[in-house]
Symmetry: C2
Subunit: 273 residues, 2 copies
């Protein structure tokens, strides 16, 4: 059976990251490293459960989320996560976490998957951390404080370089409309990493072209990070993005360098096909 032989580095987190969030990130990286050393690709991808969000849980998801559950339990904070849903430890603080963004990549060995989490205190997000598990690179942001990295500042769709969610049955025509308007399109299959690349100015935008795939955990870190980096996150159909325990809610997230670019992309997504 085929193993992923590359190591998962121990992340070198910036000083000052909210301690329970940092602990959860380190736990995720360690658990993913152990999972890759113990299980072959097919075993990592095996569906072992159905998550609280109604989507299949792969073994790699379960192992990484299990480590995060132990971490929040040690640290006595609440957790809102993909597979387990809401875990109440009676804290004013809830970590909203996507334990393994890009699970399909993570299970196959495509080196594009992330831990992404936001700290929500009494319903208000205060900071976020995105960790690219394969390299240990992190993007940290405090709400309402400018990050050292900045978006590109682009306002026009023409000439833009973006990433999109892969086209799905319900988004094929809008996927094509967007692809035909931008200068360059990529599909990395990891929303949280793609949003971080928009925040740091390496791409102009990331778009779910209307497939309504995103849950709040997929967007939580970006909702803090993008504004602090000069950009914006919104829903292509204009629905408010809210921290909500109802994991059946879905959005078509757009993370963009500027509000103007996000609005223009949303217009193209929602044009009558």
């Amino acid at each position: 059976m085929s193993m992923i032989t590359w190591p998962v580095p121990t992340p070198d987190l910036p000083d000052g990251v909210h301690a329970p969030l940092a602990d959860a990130a380190r736990a995720a990286a360690a658990a993913y490293g152990v999972a890759r050393a113990q299980y072959a690709r097919k075993e990592l991808a095996e569906v072992v459960d159905t998550g609280a969000d109604g989507t299949p849980t792969m073994r790699v998801d379960a192992l990484v989320e299990g480590a995060i559950l132990e971490s929040v339990s040690r640290n006595r904070v609440n957790l809102l996560s993909e597979e387990v849903g809401f875990v109440d430890h009676g804290s004013a603080i809830t970590l909203v976490i996507d334990p393994m963004d890009g699970s399909a990549n993570a299970a196959m060995g495509v080196p594009l998957s992330c831990f992404a989490g936001a700290v929500v205190r009494d319903g208000v997000a205060t900071e976020a951390l995105t960790l690219w598990l394969d390299t240990g690179r992190t993007w940290w942001a405090l709400a309402d404080e400018p990050t050292p990295y900045r978006t590109t500042g682009r306002t026009t769709v023409d000439g833009s370089s973006i990433a999109m969610l892969r086209p799905k049955d319900n988004s094929m025509s809008s996927w094509l409309r967007v692809a035909n308007r931008v200068d360059r399109v990529r599909v990395l299959s990891t929303t949280c990493l793609e949003a971080a690349l928009v925040a740091e100015g390496s791409m102009d935008a990331f778009v779910d072209p209307g497939s309504d795939t995103h849950r709040i955990m997929d967007l939580a870190a970006a909702m803090v990070t993008l504004p602090s980096a000069g950009g914006v996150v919104l829903d292509a159909r204009g629905r408010p993005l809210e921290f909500d325990l109802d994991l059946s809610r879905r959005w078509s997230g757009i993370a963009a360098a500027t509000r103007h670019l996000a609005d223009k992309l949303a217009e193209i997504v929602t044009e009558a096909g």
Copy 2:
């Protein structure tokens, strides 16, 4: 102006790599690191010339290829490369190199770009090295010797997980035909890295769906690496893949886990639209 702040690691190459090829790879990594430290994204992307293959040369391409030119000159081997074309040092050995695969990524800061090179002795390719510049990961292969990493062995398009070249005006309908048949599609915008991920079993195939974008430098390393890993590289339209000094030739490369999968993908690409 916006700089790419992540470092480019010094690659840790496997023992035994053909010395001039290893030297060229190290030179490329060092030059890309210096370029990122000296120039902002827009400067890296600035078109400074037209390459021997007729495509625009960005500053980042020119700087990295310049370092490779010095390397082959020191090592007295010939070079076939994207911007400079054929450089004859009177050797029986020619390095066929894509100095900066995924240039657009490399200039923007999307961490998906490669050095890829093959050693061709008297017209026969003997080994290849692909180096993911952002992480230092390498894939080395000797012609006709099994590599430690293996392809997935998949033979069916149904259920497959692939990468494709981004859709272009001349490949939109075939891009969609393939996307609709596979289980999962990605677009990383770096052919050489995508081919390496197919070789190591992290994806089932990489496909140019008929846009005829590939030059021999884009495919040279994969043409050695894939067969040694159990896979195959072929042209979607069945044209022979040849080491040729004529840089106007183009192919639509398919790198796949098995011959059967490659043939099926080629069939879908070339179906009457």
